[in-house]
Amino acid sequence: MSDQRIRFYQTGTFTVGNRLLDLGKRTVQSSTERANALTSGHRACQGCGEALGARYVLDAAMRATDRDLIAVNATGCLEVFTTPSPETAWQLPWLHSLFGNAAAVATGVAAAMRVKGKATRVIAQGGDGGTTDIGFGCLSGMFERDDDVLYVCYDNEGYMNTGVQRSSATPPTARTATTPAVGAERGNPFGTGKSLPLLAMAHRLPYVATATVADLHDLEAKVTRAMSVHGARYLHVLVPCPLGWGHPTDETIMLARLATECGLFPVFEAVGGELAASTPIRRRVPVEAYLRRQRRFAHLFDGAEPDPRLARLSALAEDNIRRFRLAAPEANP
C-alpha cells in the first residue's frame, strides 16, 4: 500500500484554495493579500466572466512582478464598466487610449520604462473585438517587433458592450445582432473567423497560451510563466458572457469548463511557435452539453430533427482534440 500514488486531496488542486494545501500551492486568488487589481463597484453585468478573468490575470501578474505593473486597455466592456468618469475600479496604473491601438500604446509604455531605467512590466489587454478585429494591425506589429509586453485577450466571442455584434472570434452558428438566426444558414456562418492564438504562434512568440476562467490554477500558472519571460507574449482567456451568450449568471464558470471539456476551446501553451503543452480533457462531454445551455445556440435545438450543423461543430471539437492533443493521457497513443 505504501506505493499507492497520493494523487488525491479532498478537493485535489481544482478548488481556489483549500486549507489542506501548502500555502505555496494555493492560488493567488485564495489569499486575502491578493491585489484586487479590479475591485468592487465596477458596473459589469452579474456573473461577468471578463471581470473575473481580468482580476485573475492581473492579480497573478501583480504577484509575479511585485506589483510593479502598468496595464494598457483597449476599448471594450472591460474599459467601459471599470472607468465611468470620475470613478475607476483599477487598483494599478492603468491607461486607455483607443479601441485599436492598445498594443501600440503598450509598446510605447514599455519603451518609456526602458528609457527611464525602470523595471516596470507592461500588460496590454482587450476584448476579442479590440484584439482580433480592430487592434489586430497594431498587435501584429507589437508581435513582430518582439516588444516586451504581455497582451491578454479576454475572449467573450463578440462585441457584447455595444449590443452583441459578431466579431471574428464568434463561433460558427452563434446568433448575434449581426448574424441573426434567420435564413438558410442561421447564425454565424461556418468558414469565417480566426484563431488568434494560432496567429500569435505564427509570429514565433516566446510564449503563447490559452486559458479559461474555469481553471484558475492553470490560468495563474500561465500568467506567472508569461511574466517570467521577456519579449512579446500572448494570452487568450475564454470569458463567458451571460448577456451575449444567453446563459444564467451563475453558469459563467460552468460554461467555460464545458467549452474545454467538449473540445471546442483548446487549452494549451506554445513556445517559439510550437505547441508545448496541452491541458487534457478530464471528463469529455458532447458539444451539445455546452451549446444547449446558451440562447445564442437555441436555434440548433428548436427543430424536431437534430440540426446537421451540430455534427460540424462536433467535428471542430474533434479536430481541436487531435490538433492540440487534448485527449486524456491514457487515451493518447
Binding site: 500500500m1 470613478e87 459563467t252
Partner: protein, 543 residues
C-alpha cells in the same frame, strides 16, 4: 492635491458605487446534514470529526467523535457502517472508509491514553444502569458527563455484553473492549459485575437511584424442535459463543458442524467452528442469499474461509452422523415453501442460530411497564417505559439490533433521563435539511480509490482468533479522511472567495469561514454554483 501634468480630475474609487443595490437574490452560507450523519444510529457527527482528521489533528477528531460515542475503537470494528452505504462519494468513485478512520482514531486514543472529557459538576442524582453492553455503557458515559453518579450492574462477570460474549474475538479483540470500558470507569462510573438485577424498582429504591436505564439485551436463543437421537448434539448459537468466550468449558465441537439460520450470528458461529477445528461448517438457511439478513461483507469473508452455504433449505431431522434437510422454493410472494424433496448431509453437530429473544422476567412485575406482541419492552420516544423513571434501550426495545443502535439508545436515553431528573423535557435540536449529492459540484473533487484495510492471510484466519481486519496506518488514514467531500458543510476551499467577479466575498481566516459583502454582491449566484459541497444557498431578496 497636486495633480500630475495634464491631469485635471482626482480619480475616485468605484467602491463608491454600491452595486449590491442591483441584487434580487443573495447568497447565504448554510450547514446541511450530510448523509453519513443522517444515517448514523449512534448520532455521530462524522463529517465534523473527519474535518479535524483531515488536518492530522487526530486528538480534536477523536474528541469530536467521543462527544457522541465513547466506543470508537469498538465501533470502527463492529459497526456495520450504514454511513458508508449512504456516503455521497459512492456516487463518484467509492464511499469514504469511515469505519477504518474511526478505528484508527479509536486505536490511537487507546495507545496515547487520551481520557474522555471531564464530567460536569455533580448533580447529586444517582442513576442505575442495568446491563454493561454497548447501550448501558453509552448511557453511563453520557450520564456521567452530565454530572450524574452512575452505577452499572451486569449479570456477567465482565462488562461488555454482546461485545464480549457475542461477537467473536477475530472481529473484536478483547483488549479493545477492555480499554474502552476502562476509560468509562475512569470517569467515575462504578461497575458492579456478576450481579443479576431481578427486581428493578427494588434495586432503584435500595440504592437511592432517581432513575434507571435498563439495557439487558436479548440473550435467550430461539429454538425449534428437531428430532435427534442425542439432544446434546444440538446447541444454540449465542450460548456457544458465550462458552467460547468464557473458555473454561468450551463445547467440544464436532468435525462437521451444521449451523441453522441466516443472520450474522450464524456466520459468527460457522467461522468460529472453522477456527476451532471443524473440518466442515455448513450454514443451512431457508431463504435465498438476497434475503439473508447477515451483512454481505460477513458472508463474503465466511465464504473465503471455507464456510459452505445451503440456500433454500430447512433442517428436518438429525441422525447419528448426518442431518436431513428439506429443499424449499419461493412462492409468488417470495416466501419459502417446502418442496417435499429431502437430502442428507454429513453433520455431527447442529447449532441453532434462529435469533434471540429478550428475557423479560425482571420487568414482568414492574407496575406500568407494557410489552410489544413480539416480546420486547414498549417505550415512548424518550425511551421511558410506563413506569416513571425507568428507561429501556438496546436489543430489548423494538429497533434494529446492532451495537450502533444500542449506543445511540444509550445517548438518547441519557439526555431524556437528564431532562427528566431536572423535571424538564429534552427537546432534540431540529435537523438541518439534507446535503444531497445533487447539491454538490463534484468537478472539484478528484478521483481516488478507497484504501483497503489489509486483511489477514486467509490461512491464518481459519485457524486462529486473530483479528481479521488490520487497521490503517497514519498516512493512509489521513488519505482516507481527506476523501471526505464535506457534504453540505463549508471546508474553506476558498472557491466562493475566488469566483466572485465583484470581490464581494470576505475571507475571515482559518476556521472562521466567509462573509458576503452585501454592499457589492450583485447576486449572480456563481459562489453558490461553484461551491463544491453545497454549503451556499441563494435566497430571494424582499423587494
Amino acid at each position: 492635491m497636486k495633480l500630475p501634468f495634464a491631469i485635471t480630475l482626482d480619480p475616485g474609487s468605484s467602491r463608491h458605487n454600491h452595486t449590491g443595490s442591483w441584487r434580487t437574490q443573495r447568497p447565504i452560507y448554510v450547514d446541511r446534514l450530510p448523509p453519513c450523519n443522517a444515517t448514523c444510529p449512534a448520532g455521530e457527527n462524522i463529517q465534523a470529526w473527519l474535518y479535524h482528521a483531515e488536518t492530522g489533528d487526530y486528538r480534536a477528531a477523536w474528541e469530536t467523535l467521543v462527544a457522541d460515542n465513547p466506543l470508537p475503537a469498538i465501533m470502527g470494528r463492529a459497526c456495520y457502517h450504514t454511513c458508508e452505504s449512504a456516503c455521497n462519494r459512492a456516487r463518484l468513485d467509492e464511499a469514504v472508509g469511515i469505519h477504518a478512520v474511526e478505528r484508527f482514531l479509536g486505536d490511537l486514543a487507546i495507545r496515547e491514553g487520551w481520557p474522555l472529557p471531564a464530567p460536569a459538576p455533580a448533580s447529586g442524582k444517582r442513576v442505575l444502569v442495568v446491563g454493561a453492553g454497548p447501550s448501558g455503557l453509552s448511557a453511563a458515559y453520557h450520564l456521567a458527563r452530565l454530572g450524574h453518579e452512575v452505577v452499572v450492574r451486569d449479570a456477567m462477570p465482565r462488562a461488555g455484553g454482546m461485545m464480549r460474549y457475542g461477537i467473536p474475538r477475530y472481529r473484536l479483540p478483547r483488549e479493545v473492549v477492555d480499554a474502552e470500558i476502562a476509560r468509562i470507569a475512569a470517569m467515575g462510573v462504578r461497575f458492579e459485575l456478576g450481579e443479576r438485577v431481578g427486581d428493578l424498582p427494588g434495586a432503584m429504591a435500595a440504592g437511592g437511584f432517581a432513575a434507571c436505564f435498563a439495557a439487558i439485551g436479548a440473550h435467550l436463543a430461539k429454538r425449534v424442535d428437531i428430532p435427534a437421537p442425542d439432544a446434546t448434539r444440538i446447541l444454540d448459537a449465542i450460548g456457544l459463543l458465550r462458552q467460547v468466550e468464557q473458555g473454561e468449558d468450551a463445547p467440544l465441537l464436532g468435525r462437521r458442524v451444521v449451523v441453522y439460520g441466516g443472520g450474522n450470528t450464524a456466520l459468527d458461529v460457522a467461522r468460529t467452528a472453522r477456527r476451532m477445528g471443524a473440518a466442515d461448517a455448513v450454514i443451512v438457511y431457508r431463504r435465498t442469499q438476497a434475503q439473508m439478513p447477515a451483512h454481505e461483507e460477513e458472508l463474503r469473508e465466511a465464504l473465503e474461509e471455507g464456510v459452505e452455504m445451503r440456500w433454500l433449505s430447512t433442517v428436518k431431522e438429525m441422525g447419528a452422523g448426518d442431518i436431513t434437510i428439506e429443499k424449499m422454493r419461493l412462492d409468488e410472494a417470495g416466501k419459502p415453501v417446502p418442496t417435499g424433496e429431502h437430502e442428507t448431509i454429513a453433520g455431527d453437530m447442529l447449532v441453532l442460530a434462529l435469533g434471540q429473544a429478550v428475557d423479560l422476567t425482571p420487568l414482568r412485575e414492574v407496575p406500568g411497564v407494557a410489552f410489544t406482541p413480539d416480546g420486547t419492552v414498549a417505550v415512548g420516544d424518550d425511551l421511558m417505559t410506563g413506569h416513571p423513571g425507568l428507561f429501556c434501550g438496546g436489543d430489548m426495545v423494538p429497533a434494529e439490533r446492532t451495537i450502533t443502535v444500542a449506543v445511540g439508545h444509550g445517548k438518547k436515553a441519557a439526555r431524556h433521563i437528564d431532562a427528566w431528573l431536572r423535571g424538564a423535557t429534552h427537546q432534540p435540536t431540529p435537523e438541518p435539511a439534507p446535503a444531497t449529492f445533487e447539491r454538490l459540484n463534484p468537478w472539484y473533487y478528484s478521483d481516488a480509490e478507497r484504501v483497503v484495510q489489509p486483511q489477514l492471510e486467509l490461512a491464518r484466519r481459519q485457524g486462529t482468533f486473530e483479528e481479521v481486519h488490520g487497521g490503517l496506518d497514519e498516512s493512509n488514514a489521513l488519505f482516507e479522511a481527506r476523501r471526505c467531500m464535506s457534504c453540505g458543510n463549508c471546508f474553506e476551499c476558498d472557491n466562493c472567495f475566488g469566483v466572485c467577479p465583484d470581490n464581494a466575498v470576505v475571507k475571515l481566516g482559518p476556521g472562521r469561514r466567509f462573509r458576503i459583502d452585501l454592499d457589492f454582491c450583485k447576486g449572480c449566484g456563481l459562489c453558490a454554483k461553484e461551491c463544491p459541497c453545497g454549503a451556499i444557498d441563494m435566497i430571494a431578496e424582499e423587494i
